[in-house]
Symmetry: C2
Subunit: 165 residues, 2 copies
């Protein structure tokens, strides 16, 4: 098996956010995709070890915040390489509340979801969320994972499904 | 809700293939992502109305074939706008058998999977597959959905989850 083949799948770069007892938190993810259009649902994969996983399960909601090519890469790093368990990840990160969810200003779009189903795997939970609100906050080109990897030369976060964040 | 936000998620372009009683068939998809790295698993979303959906359920296997920017767009159209129920989609499409699955020559990589779980939604089945074989067949840039939409100006297939294939 040539695992390079797995790297040929295309992804975006997202901050997945939630409220942890009223405190905003989140993590960086690349594995998100729309599943149905009517009603609109989105699936996102979050590692069991990510604090955000348990926060989403407790809250029953999440937001996918779309990182753009011109977004500050520090947001990706902050949400990808630190844990919300012992860090206030949003400290110093400008954000607003959209659809009642925290959305970093660095994002160019957001999709708020209620969890309607989950699929557990060995290391990750796939959350299926029904979209409750969505919006484009500014005109920008969504960042692909390939752009992040090839242009920004981003590091790999240990809990990314693709093991190459 | 501004549905334009949903269009800011990033995707690739894939042919999802399977064997229908020994006959190769498949469909075009954009919603595929790696879920876990060890063991490697991939999730792909396939509309209930796609003949390939029932074929995968019967076979318990599928292959994700990665379409490249330089792939013949006719393959995308053929697998996206016709039904394998009444059409031999591989007729005239050069392909080889890799990891015991049919892989169009137009693809630049393939990932063969055994179905290990499914999640049903209103209109789509999310298949979770454990990777049994994978390979890169040629060096090429994987096509993103954005490239397909913006450069190739691809049409929309009615059963694509994002309603914009």
């Amino acid at each position: 098996m040539d695992k390079n083949a797995l790297r040929s799948l295309s992804y975006g770069v997202y901050t997945v956010t939630a409220w942890d007892n009223g405190r905003p938190t989140g993590c960086t993810a690349n594995s998100a995709m729309q599943i149905t259009s009517s009603p609109a649902t989105i699936a996102v994969s979050v590692n069991h070890d990510n604090y955000t996983n348990s926060v989403i399960k407790e809250l029953g909601k999440f937001a996918i915040c779309v990182i753009a090519e011109d977004s500050d890469a520090a947001v990706i790093g902050r949400f990808g390489f630190m844990s919300g368990r012992d860090t206030d990840k949003f400290d110093g990160i400008p954000y607003s509340v959209r659809g009642m969810m925290p959305v970093p200003d660095a994002a160019c779009a957001y999709i708020c979801c209620n969890v309607v189903d989950t699929m557990e795997t060995a290391t990750h939970t796939v959350f299926l969320g029904e979209v409750t609100d969505a919006g484009v906050t500014r005109q920008a080109t969504p960042m692909t994972y390939a752009y992040y990897h090839n242009v920004i030369k981003g590091k790999t976060a240990k809990n990314a499904p693709t093991a190459n964040f």
